[in-house]
Each structure stands twice: as structure tokens, then as C-alpha cells.
Amino acid sequence: MTRLSQHKSALALITLLALSAGAYAAGADLGQAVKQTTNWTAIGMFAFFVIVTLFITKWAASRTKNASDFYTAGGSLTGFQNGLAIAGDYMSAASFLGISGLVFASGFDGLIYSIGWLVGWPLITFLMAERLRNLGKFTFADVAGYRFDQTPIRVFAACGSLVVVAFYMTAQMVGAGQLIKLLFGLDYLYAEMLVGTIMMIYVLFGGMTATSWVQIIKACMLLGGATFMAFAVLLQFGFSPEAMFVKAIEVHSKKDAIMGPGALITNPISAISIGMALMFGTAGLPHILMRFFTVSSAKEARKSVGWATTWIGYFYILTFIIGFGAITNLIPNPMDYFVGGDISKGLTGGGNMAAVHLSRAVGGNMFMGFISAVAFATILAVVAGLTLSGASAVSHDLYASVWRKGRVDQADELRASRITVVILGIIAVFFGIAFEKENVAFMVMLAFVVAASANFPVLFMSVLWKDCTTKGAVTGGFVGLILAVVLTVGSNAVWVLALHNPKGSAWFPYDSAAIFSIPAAFLVIWLVSLMDHSARAAVDREGYPAQEVRSETGIGSASNSGR
């Protein structure tokens, strides 16, 4: 490389790095994309995926007869299947394209980022999974409110679920619109309509059975495609990471700097706060928690999360190799992959396209079509899972338990759920269109902060602390929820980047609220419960031994006929 082009590529990568450092604070984000030429191979493969999954939906519909089938696939999944489905729920397009793009731009920083997304899983395994299965039926409110006054706890749980679902889903819908321009070369609006319609068909007719199998198929395709890419890259270097690093340092404009931490983590408090949001937020995502009710026993729940952690961790190792593969394969051939053949202008389609370009470099146009189709299918599957969990919060928690006080037959509850699915689908499309030009980078992160500060503390304390009361749990949960949202609004990602206030005017100095809002929620739950001497508090505390026996042994748990 000549000195001039080195200089140019340095500039380009500084720009990329600035973007990616922002992305860490804000959650992986696909940003604004420029529409590419129409990619018929990718569209064809995606159409094939849709046809196959619609047939599965038809089969699933024939098995979806009652509420249990609809919400939890009748508890019929095995631990291995559910593990794949959980991994499918969690491995989003943003994490596949975003993390590999971050590794491509700044090497080691991408690895730091991916670690944060994995470390919540062991906690779910050690503390939550089996107890969730033993206590729960359809939603996490069944678990959190096991011994509590149903109305307040379910109102809280539904709020917590719906806020998380709304932000997470909007980010996915906007991401879908950007991706369809990049990957298929189609208009933004097509993405909203496609995702909205197909997702509704999956959930409405096939319920959890169809949603689970869409996740499983997508997880297999994504893991298979990523494995092939990582394998092809390692093959080029005789399976020696050292040789791969040597070549990457040689061609990358940042040279040695890609091998160590860069600009991603500068403020330790922000870094720890983001880490806490990711770690505890994972254990409070309603669409993930719901997946533990789709298996038959605590043992299968435990196996599910073991498999899920393995697959997700393996996937992050692959994205790291893919990012380095993109450095060594794309930078030496600027004519093929960079705007106008000029490294300083960045990758064609933007930094998130590193993995997609690499798929063409190692597998040709057909394989690139496959990877593009998988990346888009990923969004479809995640949105379906989110919609189902949002719908169950409305129909099972709000409608059946709060509004009808549990006096409702299954057909009635199912009808409410399906109506909610349609409403949520329309809202998702509407938000996707409304936020097209907005900066939504903060939304995934906000969803995690709310899940970590509201859902997780309530779930944790109600299951593990005998003196927790309804009043304590609900008050603390709402404090965590409100604090998480308010402080996030005051942070740079929202106050300046999304709401366009002047630079430097953000009044909350850190990138994530979690380090304050999580302890605040726990503290309030603890204090209010201790001071609660109401008659209800006595009932709540008396209910603990029975809850504990069921959560530890599974005696009396739903559809646990083997015991």
C-alpha cells in the first residue's frame, strides 16, 4: 500500500471508530443506510426461507389448540431445541453485522463489546432458569407474582414487558428497513410491510410453536453460515491466529493498535454501568424469560440455557474471526469492496457490511445472497418473539388476570391475545416508519436497562427473598423502570444524538443508567418490604415456604406430569 492510501485509510478508520465507539454506548445499531443495487439472489433465498417457514406455521397452526399451545408450544420443546431457539432470539442482525463491523474497524474493541452480551447467561443458568420453569406458566409475571396480590404485580410486569418490547421492537423495525436497502436493494417501506405481515402470520396462526421453529431454523442458518466463513478465513492462514493477526496488522491502517483496547472504554463508570445493563438485562428480557416455559421440566430448562450459552458464545467467537477475516480479505482489494475503490470512503454500504462483503470474498455471490437472507430473516424471527411476549403480557396479565380477575375461559384469552398480536404488529410497522430518519441507536440499550432495573430486581427478590412483599416489589420495580427511562433520556445518546439538544448539554454524564437504577430498585424493594406491615404483607410472607418448595423441587408445577 502506498503512503497516500495508507493515510486515507487511516482517516476512514478513524471515522468508523468514532461511529463504533458511539455504538457501544448505544447498543449495536445499523444506522442510516444507502440503498444498494437490487440483489435477486438474496431476495430469492429469503423468499425460500419465508415459504419454508410458512409451511411450518401451517403445521404449527394444526397443533395450536389451547392457550398453553399458543403461549408455550404446550411445553413440548426439548432442552436442545429450546436452547437453539433462545440463541436464535438473542443473536440479532445488529449483533452479527454490528460486532463483526466493530472488529473490522478497531479489532480488540469488538471483542470487549461481544463479551458483555454473553455474561448474563450464566446468571440466568445459576439463579433463574429452573425456578422460572418450576413456578411459571405463560409469562414472567406468573413467577414474580406467585405469592403476591395479582392486580398490582401484573400491572407492573405488563408495563415492564411492554416498555422493553416497544423499544427493542422499534430498533428492530428500523434496522429491518435499513438492512433491506443494503442487502436486497429494496425500499425501506417494503421492509416494514414484509416484516410486519409475515411476523403476524407466524404468531397469529402458529403461536409459540411456529415462532420457536422459525428461531431454530434461523439459528442453524446463522451458525452454519458464520461457521463456514470463520473456517474459510482460518483456512487461509493454516489455522494459525498468529498468522491472521500478522496479516491484519500489516494491512490495517491502525497497525498494532487493533491488537489492544482502543477508544471503546474511556470512562470506567460508564463501562461498568453498560456491563451491568447487559448482564442483568439479559435476565429480564420478557421474550427470553418466556422461552423457559416452552420445555417440560426444570431439567430441560437448565439444558436449554446450557445450550443457548454455548451457541451464543461460540457465535461471538466466530464474529471475532469474521471481523479479522474482513480486515485481511477486504482491505487488500479496495476496488471490490470500498466506495469508488477508495478505502478512505469506507466500505460500500457502510461499516456494518464487513461480514456481508466477506461472505462474497470467501463464498461468491450465492453465499453472499445466503448470508444477506439470513441477516434479514434474523430480524423477522426476533420481532416475532417480541410480539408474542408483548401479546401475552397484555392478554394473560392485563386482560385475563387483572381485568377479568382470572374468570375467563381459554378461548376468550386466546382471542384477546390474537387481537393484541394484530395491534402490536400495526404499532410496530407504524413505529418503524415514524422513526425511519431518527437516531434509534439508544433503543436496544434502553430496553436492556429497563429489563435490568425493573423486571430483573422484582423477579430476583420475589423468588429469592422470603420477606419481599407486593408493595415492596411493585414500588421498587416502578422506581427502577422510571429511573432507567429518565436517566437514559438525560444521557448523550438520547439528549444530544436523538433529541438534538446542543452538544455537551446532556445532564446525565454516563452512557448507561444501570449502575444507579439497578441498586435503586433493589434498595426500594428491600426498604418498602421491611416497612410493610399491612395484612397483605403477612399473606405475602406466609406464601414463601410453599413457593420455595415448588421453585426448588417442581412439586405442583404446571404440566410437570413426570413428577
Binding site: M259, P268, G313
Partner: protein, 102 residues
């Protein structure tokens, strides 16, 4: 659930054994995960030079195996728990359930 059933379970020493054993290993592993992860983040925040130091004469830095190591550690402790629980804890659970329902 009937009170006498709960009484029978909670008074079973096997139940107490199951509870304390599972809780001990659960918390132990949880804390080790926290120490490893937040330790790694603090290392990134306060000692970037160490992570960027090359191992021997090669180009690979200490940060690379450490970072991948955290990912692998996460997977391994999860598998350790699942394996232990699938054998030991499930056997204990079965005994407790059998004792309670007979």
C-alpha cells in the same frame, strides 16, 4: 398446595441438603463470573498497556487470549453447573419428591 405436604418436604433433610448445595454452587459460580467479567472491564479501563503487550516475539497480545478466555470461561462454568445439576441435584430432587408424595 396442602400445608402438610410442604411440612413434609421442608422437614426432609434431603430437601435442606438440595437447597443449600444448589444455592452454594449457584452463588459461588455467580460471583466468579462477576469477578472475571468486571475484573476484565476494569483491566481494560485502567491498564490498556498490559492488554496491548505482545506475548514473546509474536504479534498476539495478552488481551487476545484473555478476551477469548472470558468468552470460553463463561461457556465452561455454565456447562459445569448444568452437568452437576443434571446428575447430583436431579437425583436429590427425585428423592425429595418421592419422599413427599408417598
Amino acid at each position: 398446595m396442602q400445608d402438610d405436604l410442604i411440612q413434609r418436604v421442608t422437614s426432609n433433610p434431603k430437601y435442606q441438603e438440595l437447597k443449600s448445595k444448589r444455592s452454594r454452587i449457584g452463588w459461588w459460580l455467580t460471583w466468579s463470573m462477576m469477578v472475571v467479567y468486571y475484573g476484565f472491564i476494569l483491566l481494560v479501563a485502567y491498564d490498556k498497556e498490559f492488554l496491548a503487550t505482545k506475548i514473546g516475539n509474536g504479534v498476539t497480545t495478552y488481551g487476545m487470549p484473555l478476551g477469548i478466555g472470558v468468552l470460553v470461561f463463561t461457556i465452561i462454568i455454565t456447562i459445569i453447573y448444568v452437568r452437576r445439576a443434571n446428575s447430583e441435584f436431579d437425583d436429590l430432587t427425585q428423592e425429595v419428591v418421592k419422599g413427599a408424595l408417598k
